[in-house]
């Protein structure tokens, strides 16, 4: 089993000695091509069925529709409750979307194949995170206009800020989300466990994103400098922790 793989490795890396595996320093140069390959694979798999995107989009619609019964959806009220509603919907959509991320690999034990690939292990995390990021951003892009129409909130004037909040907030959801998707892939009741693990961890993201969106959509809009700073800070912290912990998750 190991022999053909090693021979492939030798052809590609003639400089390395014949028996030893390339060290992590030499494979780290393959981080971005590797991540891109994983990302492309995820997107291709999704485009073949489009199951995940369609299901999540309809789910978020249901959430936004059901929320209209929890308060009087006039424009003024919507500006007050809308941001929270939106981010709760995004958070739920995120936890639903992220669950299959590593589960898909289990059916044919393809994670083992990914682990054997001559790429930096971090490339697997990065590729999957990027794919999840893209899927969640698409869902958000579909939901925002619907929200704007249903709840009578004009989003266009606040659009640049809103895009920035969405990008930073979504990154904050998918980085721990992808890690925890790998964590819960082997657990029982994983459909319930993932939100249970993820949502409390995402408290900072929910608060900062909701407050920033509120500031942008209010009657006297402000630039949410502090909220964006907190979101960016959370993203950096999550990425760093994820970088150190993901190796351990793959090793077992």
């Amino acid at each position: 089993m190991a022999t053909p793989l090693e021979s492939v490795r030798d052809e590609r890396l003639p400089s390395s000695s014949s028996t030893s595996f390339p060290s992590s320093t030499s494979s780290s140069s393959r981080l971005f091509p590797g991540a891109w390959a994983i990302f492309a694979k995820e997107v291709r798999t999704e485009l073949r069925t489009r199951e995940l995107l369609v299901t999540t989009a309809v789910f978020t619609l249901v959430v936004v529709f059901m929320f209209s019964f929890s308060f009087d959806p006039t424009s003024a009220e919507s500006r007050r409750f809308g941001p929270g509603l939106l981010w709760i919907a995004f958070l739920f959509a995120g936890t639903l979307m992220l669950e299959p991320s590593f589960l898909r690999e289990q059916a044919n034990d393809t994670l083992a194949a990914l682990r054997l690939a001559p790429i930096d292990p971090y490339a697997i995390l990065l590729g999957k995170t990027l794919a999840n990021f893209l899927f969640l951003i698409i869902t958000e892009a579909l939901l925002l206009p619907v929200f704007s129409v249903f709840y009578n909130v004009s989003l266009l004037p606040a659009l640049p800020g809103l895009v920035l909040v969405c990008v930073l907030g979504t990154l904050g959801i998918v980085v721990p989300g992808t890690i925890f998707s790998a964590v819960t892939a082997h657990a029982r009741m994983r459909e319930l466990l993932l939100p249970l693990l993820l949502l409390p961890i995402l408290t900072p993201i929910l608060i900062a994103a909701t407050e920033s969106t509120s500031a942008l959509l209010s009657d006297s809009p402000e630039w949410p400098a502090m909220g964006l700073k907190l979101l960016a800070g959370a993203d950096i912290i999550f990425l760093t922790v994820a970088y150190f912990l993901f190796d351990a998750l793959l090793e077992e």
Binding site: P176, I179, F180, V183, T184, H186, A187, R188, M189, R190, L193, L196, L197, P200, I201, T203, P204, I207, A208, E211, M226, L230, G233, A234, I237, V241, L245, A248, L249, E251, E252
Partner: protein, 241 residues
């Protein structure tokens, strides 16, 4: 009885006695608080439990990191034991808080930063404990638990920062819930004593939990051994038939 066991019997005794002494100090040594009177005495248990829980969660993250580096199951057992005991102390904090708040603030709960933060912490460690019960493979469980324990611990200051910022924008009706810096010296002494007693209690509880986990590990190993030898004996038995 080994020396180790004798030592822990002694520690258990110390925990029981010092908790009883702390109870005495709280009710008979600590002076009466000027405005809150008797209900203020819950503060000693509340604060020392909170500090002990903080120590416990630090142990969870540290032992988790050590497990990931050394891959020795004993670190995972230590992390779990500290996590479970810490969760119990956090529960004490979350329960004694409202008991104090109702007569003093007039409400059971307010979304004050410290309360919100403690509650998020409680939720995170509830999830930590649940995670362990829902993964069957031993090694995998240890790895996953360690990863989550570290992630949660790193997240704690971030949660605090955002909650404080969020509540800073909307000041809550109740300002300055906790005691101010000028705590009566006797009160300080009673608090420190109670904290010491709580820490010993924590150590004893965690140690007992650790022993249980170690016994479980031993039992698993014995079972495995029995299965292996049964499997080895199988061809012999088949040959005889």
């Amino acid at each position: 009885m080994s020396l180790n066991r004798t030592l822990w019997t002694f520690a258990t005794l110390v925990a029981a006695l010092s908790m009883a002494a702390a109870g005495y100090a709280i009710f008979f040594v600590a002076p009466d608080e000027a405005t809150m009177h008797q209900i203020q005495r819950i503060f000693y248990i509340h604060v020392s439990s909170a500090w002990t829980a903080g120590v416990a969660y630090f142990v969870v993250a540290l032992a988790g990191a050590l497990y990931l580096i050394k891959r020795d199951p004993r670190y995972d057992w230590a992390a779990l034991s500290a996590g479970e005991a810490g969760f119990a102390f956090t529960s004490v904090v979350v329960i004694t808080g409202p008991v104090w708040a109702k007569p003093v603030w007039g409400i059971w709960w307010t979304w004050d930063p410290r309360l919100t933060w403690t509650f998020v912490l409680w939720l995170m460690y509830a999830a930590y404990l649940l995670l362990g019960t829902l993964v069957d493979d031993k090694q995998r469980r240890a790895t996953l638990r360690s990863v989550y324990g570290i992630f949660a611990f790193v997240n704690v200051p971030l949660v605090w920062e955002t909650i404080r910022w969020w509540r800073g924008q909307h000041p809550s009706p109740v300002i300055g819930g906790g005691p101010d810096a000028k705590l009566d010296p006797t009160m300080w002494k009673v608090l420190m004593f109670t904290w010491g007693a709580t820490l010993v209690l924590f150590a004893v509880l965690a140690r007992e939990r650790y022993r249980l986990e170690a016994l479980r590990g031993e039992l698993d190993a014995l079972r495995q051994e029995a299965e292996d030898s049964a499997a080895a004996a199988q061809p012999l038995l088949a040959g005889r038939r």
